[in-house]
């Protein structure tokens, strides 16, 4: 029923998972089968999710393109739209426009080691590419995931973390900030940059994907540089304020780039050429 760029697909909330305080994951199914049949996306892309009457909000698609028939999004209750989303029940219909933006160039990473570094609520935009890599595991060498949050309760995707922990072909390191641990916590205690320095694989033939709050990224990048990672081998995904998602509304314009069109995925080398307006 797409009759303009702004017309959303209607999506039914099939499943709601509470990930952490104020953080939920929705599994969304297309209401109209023909919409589902023509829909496809790639890891790294995002969409505009809407509650009719409250408005639209931008998140990455958090599920992998290798898992067909649904998409997932994970969001924290923070503003008007995310609060309205959080108030939705299973079976409710919401809007979705997308997919928009560029992708993680996972096809170019064949034969390489992958190092995923995420902090807090920034695991969701990376979960898509992690599952994409794990579902095509034979294409990659070592896979390392470093995931940190303020406290144990702030870690999202707890079942999947257990799943990754159990896999022999994934090295998962979880950490919480000092003071955020529980008595039975078996992971690391410390900030993400420190843990990365301790557990990161050699930079040789390795791609690093980093997503997290600005302060985590700020202190992780020098660590990666020290470990020998080149800027063009460090990827991140930006989260500028957006409205349209396709390069018209002007909100996410940074320098000559539109985060929605040229991103959201950028290498550190690309970001160095951009004004510091993200």
């Amino acid at each position: 029923m797409i009759d303009s760029l702004y017309m959303p697909y209607l999506m039914r909330i099939e499943k709601i998972t509470c990930e952490a305080p104020g953080v939920k994951t929705f599994r969304l199914k297309f209401v109209n089968e023909e919409d589902e049949n023509k829909f496809s996306f790639k890891a790294g892309q995002f969409g505009e999710y809407s509650v009719f009457g409250a408005g639209e909000s931008t998140f990455c698609i958090a599920s992998s393109p290798t898992r067909k028939g649904y998409i997932e999004c994970t969001f924290r209750q923070a503003g008007k739209v995310t609060n309205a989303l959080a108030g939705c029940e299973e079976g409710s219909v919401i809007g979705f426009r997308g997919p928009y933006g560029n992708i993680f160039p996972i096809d170019e990473w064949k034969g390489k080691n992958l190092l995923f570094i995420a902090g807090g609520i920034a695991l969701p935009p990376m979960r898509c590419v992690i599952w994409n890599a794990l579902d095509t595991r034979e294409n990659f060498n070592d896979v390392t995931i470093v995931y940190g949050a303020k406290s144990v309760s702030d870690l999202v995707y707890k079942d999947e973390l257990q799943d990754w922990e159990n896999r022999k072909d994934v090295k998962l390191v979880t950490t919480v900030d000092p003071g955020g641990e529980t008595p039975d916590w078996k992971g690391e205690i410390g900030f993400v940059p420190t843990i990365v320095e301790k557990v990161a694989p050699s930079a040789e033939n390795t791609i690093a994907v980093v997503c997290g709050p600005p302060v985590m990224i700020k202190f992780t990048l020098p660590v990666l540089a020290k470990l020998g990672f080149k800027d063009e081998n460090i990827f991140t995904t930006l989260e500028n304020r957006m409205k349209c998602g396709f390069g018209k509304c002007g909100h996410c314009n940074v320098g000559k780039m539109y985060v929605c069109k040229d991103g959201p995925v950028f290498t550190q080398a690309q970001l160095k050429d951009l004004p510091d307006e993200y």
């Binding site: 702004y6 009719f52 809007g95």
Partner: protein, 341 residues
């Protein structure tokens, strides 16, 4: 197509207007009220302003309305039904009396709305619009179209351009497009042959004030200049400059709810607003006004030329006329040209 030159007698304009109305065209034309000209949907030729330099608002609202409804929805329990944009109701419109600095602006809007994804709603409105522009016989100190590639008699973006040949003269009508020819076909008797009429001597004299290409090249190295702070100290962040601009097209998308029904719409927005870039977390990539003023100038004179091959300024001068703090874009651009790099 080649431009066809025709002569329209001064007292034939009213007949043309009436024929347009008889053909069920909506006519959007400048009307003067309390000394200010603004575009309105007009029914009678007597209300159309002729002697004005510039309207306060540009005519962009015809193709990019201040509020554009994308869809209506109705909630029924957990289900929602949605009705999309009503293309049938886009009126067949003649934009009458617009200046060349606005018609050139449609080129910039076309690029923004079509450079990648095609905006069907914008395109539907433009397709139903015929642009009858009028050359400028006079200008004021805010005008600088000739510095940004335009001129008071430019045909760019128009379907027919009328130029008044002398204070009490007839009009040269330059028929530029097929849409323009379709208007001539409605009233062929009003468009006489005009072989010798020379419009140039009747046009306003708008001197060139800066070199646009040089400004663009300078801006590449100017991002970190302290001039931005100095130039924007007066800025209130009111966004008036963006609202009156013929090429500013930034927008917000908002829902309006009335019980179980409501609609989603886009509304004009401005990069001059603090909220334009603020994240839900509170982080604001452009947290101070000088960064936002810089974005406005960089976007128009550096980013758009590079990405869209079109400038985001037509030299209409509206932003300077409208600014409540008396900021002047022309003075600012000249000062950028004069700075030693």
């Amino acid at each position: 197509m080649n431009i066809e030159r025709r002569l329209v007698r001064k007292n034939s304009l009213e007949k043309l207007f009436e024929i347009l109305k008889q053909n069920k065209k909506s006519v959007f034309a400048p009307v003067v009220k309390n000394g200010k000209a603004s575009f309105k949907t007009v029914e009678s030729f007597s209300t159309v302003a002729e002697d004005y330099i510039q309207t306060t608002q540009s005519s962009k609202e015809l193709v990019f309305p201040r509020v554009e409804k994308f869809l209506d929805y109705e909630k029924n329990g957990k289900d929602v039904s949605v009705k999309g944009f009503d293309y049938q109701n886009v009126p067949d419109t003649v934009l009458w009396g617009v200046r060349p600095c606005d018609t050139i602006g449609f080129g910039a809007l076309n690029s923004i709305f079509n450079w990648d994804y095609k905006d069907e709603i914008y395109n539907a409105r433009l397709a139903k619009t015929t642009i009858l522009s009028f050359s400028c016989n006079k200008s004021d100190e805010y005008c600088f179209c000739t510095s940004v590639g335009g001129n008071p008699g430019s045909t760019a973006g128009s379907d027919i351009l009328f130029t008044k040949l002398g204070a009490d003269g007839d009009y040269l009508a330059e028929v530029i497009t097929e849409k323009g020819q379709a208007i001539v076909a409605l009233a062929p008797g009003l468009f006489e042959k005009a072989d010798t009429a020379d419009k140039e001597k009747y046009l306003a004299d708008v001197p060139v004030k800066f070199n646009q290409k040089e400004i663009s090249e300078r801006l590449e190295k100017f991002f970190k200049s302290e001039k931005w702070v100095e130039a924007s100290l007066k800025c209130l962040g009111c966004g008036a400059c963006a609202f009156v601009c013929p090429t500013c097209a930034c927008f917000d998308i908002q829902d309006e709810e009335h019980g179980k029904t409501g609609s989603r719409m886009r509304c004009w927005d401005s990069c001059g607003y603090a909220q334009f870039t603020v994240h839900t977390s509170g982080h604001n990539p452009r947290s101070v006004q000088s960064q936002r003023w810089r974005q406005r100038i960089m976007h128009k004179f550096s980013y758009m030329p590079e990405r869209l091959s079109v400038y985001g300024c037509t030299g209409c001068g509206r932003c300077s006329r409208a600014c409540p703090a008396d900021m002047n874009i022309l003075e600012h651009l000249i000062s950028i040209q004069e700075v030693k790099l």
